[in-house]
Amino acid sequence: MKLMSRAKGARFQTDFDSSANTVRALGSFLHGESHRGMSMGPGSPRLANGLARLPRPVRRRIFAGMGYQQAIPLDRVRDVRIEDLDEWVVQQYGPGPYPALVIGSTSGAVVHLAAALGAPFLPQTQLVSVRDTATHPDDPRAALDAIAPLARRVAANNPGIAVYHMHDPGQDRAMLEKMAYLRLKRLELGEAYERFIEERLAPGAPIIQVECTRDWRTREIGDRAYFQFGCLGGIPEEEYHDTGERITEFLHTAKSDRDGWEPPETDARRPEAEWGFHPSMAEGVRRVAERSGHPVRRLTFEDPQVPSAFVADFYRSWYRERGMEGNRLLVESYVQWDPLWVLKVGAVPFWLRFNMRPAQEALIDYLEGLEGGDRGTGDGSEPDPYDEIRLNVFSQGLKSPGLVPPEEWRETIERYARRKAEVIGVDEEAYPVDPGSTMRFQPAFEGIEGRHPLPTPLPVDAIDTFLAEHGGGRYGVGWS
């Protein structure tokens, strides 16, 4: 039964989802393996280069085709059960006992934080994509109407979750041509997660509940079913609902027959579909933790991008305590992360939510802060820039509004790196329509010279010590 459940869970997972990749990357890491090819496909630059040589329209279709393959046929929607997805999640990890557990909202920074603590991660939100070849990506009202019966059905079949139909023709356009996103956000802990806490944690191991407080305007389409238009990326929330010239221009470039978006009216702000934390689950975590004797710690932030600076400095400080220089920065984006090789090459990880302007601004803010004196934090601290900065960016299959081109990324890191700045694992000509992007990033990380032994995991107290010294407020994170 469990095997069937896991197989179903694996089929219902969407391979490029941030939560699925957090689980896969940490599962691999805790088994001593890399996140090569997103822990499932080949990590072959040669194959990736072959794909990049195909004509652009063909590459574009490959993206849409990959989306279609990921999505489940509509007759399987009635079979979607959060329990199957949970079985798949817990199956990614070993028997333990683990010294800590991270649970809740995902973020690339959280991946590295969990890796430093030797902790597995249990996501609150998971993505199930469904086939949709009929809806125009630029017609959010039609998308809502078409998917609402299915979203309501999934919610009805799974009493412990909220279902968000997320529709973002700006960032996810290539995928939306043939599929629709249903994000399942659990409101209860669920049996598989409870069992995991009870059976696979070391006695007294702390549970870190990650809470991203980002919300978004949404519309209720049924009991525990919501529609969210747009998502965190290069387009501000306001612009999705009040489209201007920039969107019109984008739509014309994307060869759409629409001049703008006319999303349906919204009725409330709710936790953001992909990253936001729904507080309903906290009660279950508290109850099971109390019963099993595990203390609960909370890490809170307003946006998944926020903890990147904290985790980067946390790693830097850790490296220095181990006698390393900690002057090598590796900038990752979206799900192209690898907690194993970050440690092996002794790189400080800084995660970008995506390849868009707001992510670039966050990176600049961080690097600017290291310049010291008036230029940096303004507190007169000593400058502490990185000697080497390497950057890798994800390809999402189209030039979305707010996309930062590779040359600009290079300029950014060149401005702050003292010795070496390099964009790695990116085919700049094919970017951002590079279907081999996920095959290229990890070999590029492996190509960074220098090897370090894997450290023993840090105790959770190390976060206390670090934040007591540096202050969580400085990073915009709450820790309690």
Binding site: D75, A134, P149, R153
Partner: protein, 357 residues
Amino acid sequence: MRVRDSVVVVTGASSGIGRATALCFARKGAAVVLAARREEALEEAARECEKHDGAQTLVVPTDVTDPEAVDALAQRAVERFGRIDVWVNNAAVTAIGPFQEVPLEDIRRVMDVNVMGYVYGARAALPIMREQGHGVLVNVSSVVGVVSQPYNQAYTMSKFAIRGLTSSLRQELKIEGVRGVHVCSVLPATIDTPFFDEAANYSGRKVLAMPPVYPPERVARAIVNMVRMPRRETVVGPMGRQMVMESKMAPGTVENTMGIMFDRKHLSRKEPAPANTGNLYEPSPDSGSVPGGWHGRRRTNVRRTLTAVALVGLVAGVGRRMPLVGGGRGNRRARHVLPVAVGAWKVARVVKKRRSG
């Protein structure tokens, strides 16, 4: 019964099977009374009928769920043509979706149109026919009236009910010794009509025409033939006939097969659809049409050609006791069986393409 110069009333004549039936009767020289909710579509259908030797037509916009309107339809037909020889109960709607999700009022509406509409039609037509001493009442049921479909509960119930009504009326006429008045049912398989696009749908998936799809003219011809030589029941479409036959021998297997087929082929696996009431309460705004864009005619032709080619190949191969490819030593004709068959298929394809424009 002679079709030429007969008076035929057809309900649901604005599109699909009803419209094809009206056209077919007009072509055979009958006077046609067209009834449905959409006046504009009926007028257009009537104009099409009149193209055939100036066939006489009468358009009577009618909602078959209104018994008075159905009575009025019969009265108008008698006033205009003096009698009713044939009454075709055909108007039908459906509501597709999981049982708990289809609103009760929609289920009721389907029963009102598909069952009570036929009841009102029969009550209006039979007294006139009995008085005349002749007439044929044709109730269009469906293969679904024999083999049920999942997610299509109301429609399935209604089509079973229509067969029951037809049979019961036939018994009644027999017992009462009424001769010359016949009550028949026609059971079409999947027919290429706008019916699927107009269905009320709560399944979340687009409704498709489940293959094999047959042209509506085939049903129309079956109805005309039914009038010429009344029979209890006839099934239209070989697949439908096969299913009905199999359902008598292995009902459980056929029920399961239909369930799977419906889920896989009748509802799209890649095109979602919003919840909607279709044409249950308001007719479609367009002017109606016979085909629904499912290429029933083309599909049927392709199927027939392929079947013919396969049969020719098989017969030739078996007849000569030779392998199909390569042929045997000393038998030159057998070597050409496959290329000739392929050639025939290609020619047939070109001809069909030209025909379908």
